[in-house]
C-alpha cells in the first residue's frame, strides 16, 4: 500500500510523531545519563582545582596535561584542599561543598543585582598555601573558564583553562601546557593595583622570561580567545579583590 506522502494532513501528522519520538528519546536518554554526567563533571572540577595548584600527574612530561586519575581524585581533593570558603556580601563562611557552586550562575545573579556567592579554595602543598579562585568568561564562540592558584604575594602558582567550543588548533589551545605554563610566576598585581594578566601579542618575550610585566605571550590566530582569557582573569581578580587584600602579605 502506497502512502500519499504529499498530503498536508500526512505531513502534519508525520512532523508531530517525529517530534514526539525524537523528543522522548532525547529526554529519556538525558535523564537516564544525568547521574553519570553529573559525577563526571564533579570529578572534573576537583581535577581542575587540584591541577591549578600543581597537584597533577605531569611529572617529567612537559607536553601534556595529566590530571589526578578520577578514581582517586576525591581523596586527593580532601587531602590537599584544607578549606573551602564562600564569600557572600562581605561575609566569609566555610562550606565543604563550595566547589559545586556554579560561577556562571553567580555572575548572572550579580549582573541582576541579586546576592551572589563566590567560592575560594585554600590548598596546602609542601607547607605552602595556595588560594585557588575560579574564573568564568567568554572566548570567541562560547564560554571559557578556569582556575588560578595564587600565593600570599599574589603571584600565580598555576592556572587551568578550559573552553566550551573554541576553534580546534587555535583558540582551543588555551588549555595546552605551553600556554598555561606561561602564567606561572606572573603577578596579578602591578604595584598595588590589581591589574590581572594580559595576553599580549608582540611583547618580544616568547619564552616568557619577564615575569613582572603582567603579560604572557599570545597564541597566534587566537586573538579573541586570548583577549577573553585576559578579560576573564581581570574580572575574577577584581571580583575577589576584597578577599585577596585580606590574605596579601604587604
Amino acid at each position: 500500500m502506497a502512502i500519499n506522502t504529499d498530503k498536508n494532513t500526512y505531513t502534519v501528522i508525520f512532523a508531530g510523531v517525529m517530534v514526539l519520538v525524537v523528543g522522548s528519546l532525547l529526554a529519556f536518554l538525558a535523564s537516564g545519563l544525568q547521574p553519570n554526567i553529573k559525577e563526571n563533571e564533579r570529578f572534573e572540577k576537583q581535577q581542575n582545582i587540584l591541577y591549578a595548584m600543581g597537584v597533577n600527574e605531569n611529572g617529567d612530561d612537559v607536553g601534556a596535561v595529566n590530571f589526578i586519575p578520577t578514581d582517586v581524585v576525591e581523596d586527593e581533593f580532601s587531602k590537599y584542599i584544607k578549606e573551602q570558603l564562600v564569600i557572600e556580601g562581605g561575609k566569609t563562611t566555610s562550606d565543604k561543598e563550595a566547589y559545586l557552586i556554579d560561577l556562571k550562575k553567580q555572575l548572572a545573579a550579580k549582573k541582576k543585582g541579586e546576592p551572589f556567592k563566590l567560592p575560594v579554595f585554600i590548598g596546602e602543598k609542601d607547607n605552602k598555601n595556595f588560594y585557588v579562585i575560579p574564573m568564568y568568561g567568554k572566548g570567541l564562540w562560547d564560554a571559557i573558564w578556569g582556575f588560578v592558584a595564587l600565593d600570599e604575594s599574589m603571584t600565580v602558582q598555576g592556572v587551568y583553562f578550559d573552553h566550551k567550543g573554541e576553534t580546534p588548533g587555535l583558540g582551543a589551545n588555551i588549555k595546552m601546557r605551553y600556554f598555561m605554563d606561561d602564567f606561572e610566576g606572573e603577578s596579578i598585581l602591578d604595584g598595588t593595583r590589581y591589574a590581572g594578566i594580559s595576553v599580549a601579542k608582540g611583547n618580544n618575550d616568547p619564552l616568557n622570561k619577564t615575569k613582572d610585566d603582567n603579560e604572557v605571550d599570545a597564541l597566534a590566530g587566537a586573538t579573541i580567545t586570548g583577549n577573553g582569557v585576559a578579560a576573564m582573569i581581570k574580572e575574577s581578580v577584581t571580583l575577589y579583590k576584597p578577599y585577596l587584600e585580606t590574605i596579601r602579605v604587604k
Partner: protein
C-alpha cells in the same frame, strides 16, 4: 558470495578517488576551513563524520518512503542533530575525556553540508546497505582531504605534526630553524585552508582532465 559487489565497492571507492566531496562536489568546505589548523583535529573530525554519515544515511534510507517531501530537509536536520546529541551524551556519561575533545566538533558536524548533501542526494533514493556504503565512502573522501590539509597547515604553520615538533624549535632556533627558516603564520589562519584545497583541486584536475568543467 562477496561481501561487496563491484558496484557496492564503487560506492566506497569513488569518493576516495575522483569524486572527493570537498574538491569535486565542493561540499563541507566550511568545516575544512575551521578545524584543519592541526592534524589531530582533522583526524578526530574525520572519524566523527564517518560515524555520523554512515549511521545517518542508513536512518534516512530506512525512512525514505515515509518522509513527506515538503519537510524532508527538516527531517534530515532532526535526524543528524539527534544522532550527534545522542553520541555526545553517551560519551559524556561513559568516556568523559573523549567527549571533551569532541565537544567543539558537535556543532560543526550538524552543520556539515556533506551530511545533508548525501542524505538528500543518495539516502533518499537508495536502500540502507548502499546508503551505508555511500556514507562511509563520502566521509572517508572528506576525511582524506581534511587530513592532507591538516598535515600541511600544521607542518608549515607550526612546524609540528600531531603536536610533536618535527622541524626543530622555532624559539631556540634549532633544527631547520637554524638555517633561517620560519613558520608561516598565514598557514594557521582559515584562508590558508582554501589555498591548500585549491592546490589539491589543481593537482587532481591536471592529472585527470576529464574533471575540468567546460566554460
Amino acid at each position: 558470495m562477496a561481501l561487496l559487489t563491484k558496484k557496492d565497492a564503487g560506492l566506497i571507492l569513488d569518493p576516495l578517488a575522483d569524486n572527493k566531496p570537498i574538491t569535486i562536489q565542493v561540499l563541507g568546505i566550511c568545516s575544512a576551513l575551521a578545524i584543519t589548523a592541526e592534524l589531530e583535529a582533522s583526524i578526530v573530525m574525520s572519524i566523527a563524520v564517518v560515524f555520523v554519515l554512515g549511521i545517518g544515511n542508513v536512518v534516512i534510507s530506512l525512512m525514505r518512503n515515509i518522509i513527506p517531501s515538503k519537510i524532508r530537509i527538516i527531517v534530515q536536520l532532526i535526524v543528524v542533530a539527534t544522532l550527534v546529541i545522542v553520541v555526545d551524551q553517551v560519551l559524556k556519561a561513559f568516556a568523559y575525556e573523549l567527549s571533551k575533545t569532541l565537544g567543539a566538533f558537535v556543532g560543526l558536524i550538524i552543520t556539515n553540508c556533506i551530511i545533508m548533501g548525501r542524505f538528500e542526494a543518495f539516502a533518499l533514493a537508495n536502500g540502507p546497505w548502499k546508503s551505508f556504503l555511500d556514507g562511509i565512502g563520502n566521509a572517508l573522501g572528506y576525511g582524506v582531504i581534511l587530513i592532507i590539509v591538516g598535515f600541511f597547515r600544521e607542518l608549515l604553520g607550526s612546524g609540528t605534526l600531531l603536536g610533536i615538533p618535527v622541524l626543530g624549535d622555532p624559539i631556540m632556533k634549532t633544527g631547520l630553524y637554524a638555517t633561517g627558516y620560519e613558520n608561516n603564520g598565514f598557514m594557521i589562519i582559515p584562508p590558508a585552508a582554501l589555498i591548500v584545497v585549491g592546490i589539491i583541486i589543481w593537482v587532481q584536475r591536471s592529472r585527470n582532465p576529464a574533471l575540468v568543467e567546460e566554460n
